[in-house]
C-alpha cells in the first residue's frame, strides 16, 4: 500500500467531518445520500462480489430495516440511533431466515429467490397494516437531525468499507472467494460453503438495514413503495459493478461516480436514467466485468487490497 494513501484518507475523513459546519442543509443531505449509497453498494459487494452469489433483491434489507426501526421509534419510543441498529439486526435476521434455505443451491436459484423476496416483503408490510400503516405509510415524529444522521451514515459507510478490508485480507475472505471461483473444489477442500455464504449474507444485510432506518428517520415518513423499490437494487448493483465488484474501493468509486451522474440525470429523465443503468450493467458485464478498479488492478498488477 502506498504511503500516501492512509494519510490522504485521514485528510478526507477530517474534511468530511468538518463539512456540515459550513455546508447548506441541502449540501448535507446530498452527502448523506452519497454515504448511504456507498454503504449499500459495499454491502452488495460483500455477498455478490466476494462469493459470486448474485442478490437481486438486496433492497429488501433496506426496506425491512426502515420499517423495523421506524416501528421501534413509533411503537416503543426508542431513540433513533438504537432503533436504526435494531433495524440492522432485524435485517440480518431476515437474511438468516432466507439464506438458510436459499443459499444451499447454485447461483441462479438463489438469485431468483431474492428477486421474489422483495415482492413478498411488500405484501407482508401491507398485511400487517396495524403495525406498519400498510399502504398509507408510517409517519415518524418530527425531528431535525440531518447533521447527526449525516455523521451516522458516514460512520456506517466507513464501517462497511473497513469490514470489507478486514475480510478481503483474511483467510475468511479467501474462503469466500473460493466459493466464487469453484464451489465444488471449495467443498472438496473442507470449506463448509453454506456456513460461509450465510456469514457473508448476514453481514451484507446489516448495513442496508441500518441505513434504511437512518434514511427513514431522515425522511420522516415511509411507505412500501418508497423503501422497497427495485431501482434501489439496480443502483446498488450498477455502482458496485461499475466501480469493481470484489474489490474494496470499487463500490466506493462506483457509488461516487454514479451518484454524481444520478443527481444530474435522475430528476429530469427517470426512465432514460434507468435505461442507462441497464445499459451500463450490460456494458460492464461484456466489456469490463471486473469494473474500473478491477481493470486497473489487472493492468498495473495492484494488490487485492485496492
Amino acid at each position: 500500500m502506498k504511503r500516501w494513501f492512509p494519510a490522504a484518507l485521514a485528510l478526507l475523513a477530517v474534511g468530511l467531518a468538518l463539512y456540515p459546519l459550513q455546508a447548506t442543509g441541502y449540501g448535507v443531505r446530498v452527502m448523506l445520500q452519497l454515504f448511504m449509497w456507498i454503504a449499500l453498494a459495499q454491502s452488495w459487494n460483500l455477498i455478490s462480489g466476494l462469493t459470486g452469489y448474485v442478490s437481486f433483491g438486496h433492497v429488501v434489507f433496506f426496506g425491512t430495516g426502515a420499517y423495523a426501526s421506524s416501528i421501534l421509534i413509533v411503537a416503543l419510543g426508542w431513540a433513533w440511533p438504537l432503533a436504526c441498529l435494531g433495524g440492522g439486526v432485524v435485517a440480518a435476521g431476515l437474511a438468516l431466515l432466507i439464506g438458510w434455505p436459499c443459499l444451499r443451491l447454485k447461483g441462479p436459484y438463489f438469485a431468483i429467490a431474492t428477486l421474489g423476496l422483495n415482492e413478498v416483503m411488500r405484501v407482508v408490510v401491507s398485511y400487517y397494516e396495524g403495525l406498519t400503516g400498510g399502504g398509507n405509510g408510517l409517519s415518524l415524529p418530527t425531528l431535525h437531525a440531518s447533521v447527526e444522521i449525516y455523521y451516522a451514515m458516514g460512520l456506517v459507510a466507513a464501517a462497511v468499507t473497513a469490514v470489507t478490508y478486514v475480510i478481503v485480507t483474511s483467510r475468511f475472505g479467501l474462503r469466500l472467494m473460493t466459493i466464487r471461483e469453484d464451489e465444488v473444489a471449495a467443498e472438496a477442500m473442507g470449506i463448509d460453503t453454506l456456513r460461509y455464504k450465510l456469514y457473508a449474507f448476514l453481514l451484507s444485510a446489516a448495513a442496508p438495514g441500518i441505513v434504511g432506518g437512518l434514511s427513514a428517520r431522515d425522511q420522516g415518513y415511509i411507505e412500501p413503495l418508497s423503501v422497497f423499490p427495485l431501482i434501489m437494487t439496480i443502483t446498488m448493483i450498477v455502482m458496485a459493478l461499475f466501480g469493481g465488484k470484489g474489490t474494496i474501493w470499487g463500490p466506493v468509486l462506483g457509488a461516487a461516480l454514479l451518484f454524481a451522474f444520478q443527481e444530474v440525470v435522475w430528476a429530469r429523465f427517470i426512465y432514460l436514467h434507468q435505461l442507462l443503468f441497464g445499459a451500463i450493467i450490460v456494458g460492464v458485464v461484456l466489456l469490463m466485468p471486473r469494473g474500473i478498479l478491477g481493470v486497473l488492478q489487472q493492468k498495473y498488477n495492484l494488490p487485492r487490497t485496492i
Binding site: G107, E119, L272, Q274, G278, V282
Partner: protein, 291 residues
C-alpha cells in the same frame, strides 16, 4: 373464517387452476429451454412477455387486429428479438461464470422495461376483446381464460412435437443433455443456441399476447412471470421439459386454491413460499431434473 367449502367451489378452483396453469406452463417452457440448453437464466423473460403483450395491444389499437391472430405476429417478432439478444449479447457470456449471464439478462430486462416506459409510458392499457363467461352447471368458465388455455395448450403441444419429432428439436434436446457430445455428433451448437433463445422468446411473447386480453398492460407486467416461470422450472425439474407442464399446472392449482383461503394480496407470497419450500425439500424438482 367460517367459509363453507363446497365441492363445486373445489371444482371451480381446479378448473381455474388448470386454465391458468396452462399459460404458466407455456411461458415457463420458454424459460426452461433457454436454461436447459445454455444454462442461462433469462431474467429478461418477463419483459419479453411484456413486449408480446404490447405488440398485440398496438395491433388491436391501430388496425383492430384480432388479438389471437396477433400471435402470428408477436411470436415471430419476438423470436427475432430473442435471436438478436443471443447473437449479440448472451453468446458472449454462455461460457463465463453463471453470474455473468445473470447480471447480463438482468441488465437487459431493465433496459427493455425502461424502453417500454419511454416508448409507451406507464399508462395502463387494455385490450377489450373477449369478456364474460360460459356457465356450465355450477361452474363459470371465463371466456378469455378458456381461449388462453386453448391456445397455450396448442402452442405447447406444438413445441413438444417440434422437440420430439423434428431434427432441430432433437438437436436441441441433445445439446441440452450434453454440449460436447452434441458437437461431436456434428450439431452446430451456435445455431442451436440462437434457435433456442428465439424459441424461448417466442413462447414468452405468446404468453404476453394471450394475457393482453385479460390483464392491464404496463411495462412492468412481465416481472412476476419471470419469477413464476422460474418457480415452474424448479417444480418440474431443470432440463425436464415435460416437467414444466406439470409444474405449470401445479402452480396454477396451488394459486387458485390459496385464493380460496387467503386475501388476494397474500397470493403473491404464495408463489414465493412455494418456491422456498420446494428448494428446501426437493431442489431437483418434483420430477427428476438436473440441478
Amino acid at each position: 373464517m367460517g367459509v363453507l367449502i363446497t365441492p363445486s367451489m373445489i371444482g371451480q378452483v381446479v378448473i381455474s387452476g388448470l386454465l391458468a396453469g396452462s399459460l404458466y406452463a407455456m411461458v415457463a417452457l420458454g424459460l426452461g429451454l433457454i436454461f436447459g440448453v445454455m444454462r442461462v437464466l433469462n431474467v429478461a423473460h418477463g419483459p419479453l412477455l411484456m413486449m408480446g403483450a404490447y405488440t398485440t395491444f398496438w395491433l388491436f389499437q391501430w388496425i383492430g387486429f384480432n388479438p389471437y391472430l396477433s400471435l402470428l405476429v408477436s411470436m415471430p417478432l419476438l423470436f427475432l428479438v430473442g435471436v438478436g439478444l443471443q447473437r449479440f449479447l448472451v453468446r458472449r457470456v454462455v461460457d463465463a461464470p453463471e453470474l455473468s449471464s445473470l447480471l447480463l439478462t438482468f441488465g437487459v430486462s431493465i433496459a427493455l422495461v425502461n424502453l417500454a416506459q419511454l416508448a409507451f409510458t406507464s399508462d395502463l392499457r387494455a385490450v377489450e376483446y373477449l369478456t364474460g363467461s360460459f356457465v356450465v352447471g355450477p361452474f363459470a368458465l371465463s371466456k378469455p381464460r378458456l381461449a388462453t388455455c386453448g391456445f397455450a395448450i396448442a402452442i405447447t403441444l406444438g413445441a413438444f412435437v417440434f422437440l420430439r419429432s423434428t431434427r432441430l428439436g432433437k438437436a436441441i434436446r441433445a445439446v441440452s443433455q450434453s454440449r460436447e457430445v452434441a458437437q461431436v455428433c456434428g450439431i452446430d451448437v451456435q445455431r442451436i443456441h440462437l434457435l433456442t433463445f428465439g424459441l424461448g422468446a417466442a413462447l414468452a411473447a405468446a404468453g404476453g399476447s394471450l394475457v393482453a386480453v385479460m390483464v392491464a398492460i404496463q411495462p412492468e407486467m412481465g416481472q412476476v412471470y419471470t419469477f413464476k416461470s422460474f418457480l415452474v422450472i424448479v417444480l418440474g425439474g431443470a432440463g425436464n421439459y415435460p416437467g414444466a407442464l406439470l409444474g405449470g399446472l401445479l402452480l396454477g392449482l396451488v394459486e387458485q386454491l390459496a385464493s380460496l383461503f387467503l386475501t388476494t394480496q397474500v397470493n403473491e407470497a404464495v408463489a414465493y413460499v412455494l418456491l422456498v419450500l420446494v428448494l428446501l425439500i426437493r431442489p431437483t424438482g418434483l420430477l427428476k431434473g438436473r440441478v
